[in-house]
């Protein structure tokens, strides 16, 4: 059983900081997702846990072992790579068996364990093929089977779905979720796709520029983003962020005026609200602006307009029809509004 603990872990290449002072406790059997844009240090963090990358500073504990100096093979983890990392000269069966073979697992167990793993990822019909004769999704399932066949203490997955097409991504995602439920192993999953993070994670770590921005359950991160970076990264579309001034609970900006907000905050702030929290109004609306564009999504319609210099999107019913240039009036419930410090971008805690 493996808790994974990272203590003040840093990675630097000369002057470049890849990961800065990373502290995190990952509980046993937890599904943890590292989320962030390219270059934020999420893959580096995972590679340090795997042992593929040296640690400049800090400590990594897996279970009760300090693994800083351990070889990857001695850390009792397995990993799934973005580009699969299969052995092209071996059949699917041999690929899955490989970890057992090189770890000198008694040969008598091999067949049974390979078949069990292949059954879990539904590869039984392809065992005699070579990776070149498989589709991307099948290849990634081979990689998954190879990772689970050894029954390690922890799984590491480095953007495993990035090379798959949209439809396959959804089904493989479900498969990974189900595998985690069945196997009950600590799983660390790296992705830049916030939907994957929301759907898979027990907890999400949002990273940017080598720093942890927020750690929390998907709902916490969605409902209470810690700063404007997280707010703009999570959700589809991302949270609308509008710059303005707040005085006595009233936020004002170009084309926008929201009242009923916290009276404890005064001065320049950034107001955030989600597209689905806005509702159309008749008069005396919080936002009153001409439409910039109309997008039909099928299940809803997205309209956007310029408010205080920013493009703001709101989600309305799928039957809503309007022309570009028409003036729209929108209300936002004060409870759905988030306030962020204008200079630091940090969330301003308000009562309620």
């Amino acid at each position: 059983m493996a808790q994974i603990r990272l203590k003040n872990v840093s990675k630097r290449w000369n002057n470049f900081i890849g990961v800065d002072n990373f502290n995190l406790d990952i509980a046993d059997q937890e599904f943890l997702v590292l989320l962030g844009p390219s270059g934020c240090g999420k893959t580096t963090t995972m590679r340090m846990i795997a042992g593929l990358e040296d640690i400049t500073e800090g400590e990594i504990w897996i279970g009760d072992r300090l693994v800083n100096k351990l070889e990857p093979k001695d850390r009792d983890i397995s990993m799934v790579f973005q580009s699969y990392g299969l052995y092209p000269n071996m059949t699917v069966y041999e690929n899955i068996r490989f970890p057992l073979k090189v770890r000198k697992v008694p040969a008598g167990q091999h067949h049974e364990r390979v078949m069990a793993a292949s059954k879990m990822v539904e590869l039984d019909d392809f065992l005699q093929r070579r990776p070149a004769a498989l589709s991307g999704g099948q290849r990634q399932r081979v990689a998954l089977a190879r990772a689970i066949v050894r029954e390690p203490n922890a799984f590491l997955m480095d953007e495993p779905l990035s090379n798959l097409d949209a439809k396959l991504r959804v089904s493989t995602r479900a498969q990974i979720k189900n595998l985690h439920h069945t196997l009950k192993r600590t799983t660390i999953y790296v992705t830049h796709d916030q939907i994957e993070a929301m759907t898979l994670a027990d907890r999400v770590v949002v990273m940017s520029k080598g720093l942890i921005q927020q750690v929390g359950t998907p709902m916490e991160i969605y409902d209470r983003p810690a700063n404007t970076f997280v707010a703009s990264f999570i959700g589809s579309p991302a949270m609308n962020l509008v710059h303005g001034e707040i005085h006595n609970g009233v936020f004002t900006g170009d084309h926008i005026r929201v009242d009923g907000l916290s009276t404890q905050v005064n001065g320049p702030v950034t107001l955030g609200f989600r597209a689905e929290d806005a509702v159309l109004a008749d008069s005396n609306a919080h936002i009153e602006a001409p439409i910039y564009s109309v997008e039909l999504l099928g299940e809803a319609t997205m309209i956007s307009m310029r408010v205080a210099g920013e493009l703001v999107s709101i989600k309305v019913g799928k039957d809503y029809r309007a022309e570009i240039g028409d003036v729209v009036r929108v209300n936002i419930a004060p409870s759905a509004c988030h306030l962020f410090d204008r200079s630091t971008g940090q969330r301003i805690a308000t009562a309620g």
Binding site: A50, L52, K73, M79, S83, G85, N89, F98, P99, V102
Partner: protein, 343 residues
């Protein structure tokens, strides 16, 4: 690409190939069916004023010059040259097989026929040097791949030196070193406490030093190709092997070697062809007493006073056939794989 464009594109090199490769080969084949004219002899009676007359047999130079003018290639000999003692020695082998004292005797006597003696060394050179040089080159490539960037350049340069040095010079240098008064030869004498030890006198030691030289000069080529190949080994696969628990050797065995296998076929082809035509070290080592090769036989035919074009041509044709036989397994395999992939 349309066939016409493709044809126009390769036409210049096609012409060059026909002119400089195909036609000379045809000429060599034709030459190999001819042999030098026999000498035309005339009886000349020379009478001296007081001694009476004597008849002498002389070469008729004028008639021979005329004959050479008429038939510059010599007289047609068919397969005669191929079958004579200097080449395939069919009659001699028949005699040896018909009348001998066991296998050892057969081998010794066949080995004394010039072509078979040369063929023996050539084949041994091919099949000993090629695999060892490839293995050595692979090991060097693996080693260079792991040294820090700082020293990589110099290490690569030193590894390539044997290939940069002209073969004749390289073999001469090694030859001088193994002479009794050279650094290696003298040290070997001290080491084995045997003042008469000479690498040159013993056939076995001569062979060994030739093979050593062959490995030394051949390894850099394998090294360069394998080193380039190592840069294309997929990092993901290597890393997943690391995590799966493979040791360094198992990563090489299961990931690197399969990845480099097609390159190894290519290297083996090139090296086998090269080594089948081994020549320079025999000249450089002055080793012809103990080791000869097919190329050396050709050189020997052409360099003496009597230039035996027919004999040299026949040996050349035999060499070409040898190369084809040597490469056929690989070519057949490549051809099959190619067809297999198309299907």
């Amino acid at each position: 690409m349309p066939h016409k464009t493709f044809f126009a594109f390769i036409l210049p090199s096609l012409i060059a190939m026909v002119l400089f490769i195909a036609l000379p080969i045809v000429s060599v084949v034709v030459q190999s069916f001819h042999v030098e004219h026999g000498r035309i002899l005339v009886q000349v009676e020379s009478c001296q004023p007081f001694g009476g007359c004597t008849t002498e047999t002389r070469v008729d130079t004028a008639a021979m010059a005329e004959l050479r003018e008429e038939q510059p290639m010599g007289r047609f000999n068919g397969f005669g040259t191929y079958l004579n003692r200097g080449h395939l020695a069919v009659d001699e082998i028949g005699a040896i097989l018909a009348n001998n004292n066991g296998i050892g005797d057969i081998v010794t006597r066949i080995y004394n026929l010039p072509l078979y003696k040369a063929l023996a060394f050539t084949l041994v050179f091919c099949f000993v040097v090629t695999p060892i040089a490839m293995a050595l080159g692979f090991v060097i490539a693996l080693a260079v791949n792991t040294v820090p960037k700082m020293v990589k350049g110099p290490v690569i340069f030193f590894s390539l030196l044997p290939m940069i040095i002209t073969p004749l010079i390289g073999s001469l240098i090694l030859y001088w070193m193994i002479q009794p008064n050279g650094i290696i030869g003298a040290n070997l004498r001290v080491l084995f406490d045997d003042p008469t030890l000479s690498l040159r006198q013993s056939p076995l030691l001569t062979w060994l030093s030739l093979l050593f030289y062959g490995v030394w000069t051949n390894a850099p080529f394998s090294f360069v190709v394998f080193y380039a190949g190592l840069q294309t080994v997929p990092a993901d696969t290597l890393e997943s092997a690391m995590i799966d628990g493979a040791s360094r050797w198992e990563r090489i065995r299961y990931v690197v070697i399969p990845h480099l296998a097609p390159l190894a076929t290519f290297v083996a082809l090139v090296q086998l062809m090269d080594n089948f035509r081994v020549f320079e070290p025999i000249v450089g080592f002055s080793a012809e007493a103990n080791a000869t090769s097919l190329s050396w036989l050709i050189f020997n035919d052409l360099s003496g006073d009597a230039q035996l074009f027919g004999s040299a041509g026949a040996t050349s044709v035999i060499t070409i056939i040898g190369v084809i036989i040597l490469l056929s397994p690989v070519l057949v395999r490549t051809w099959r794989e190619f067809n297999h992939k198309v299907v």
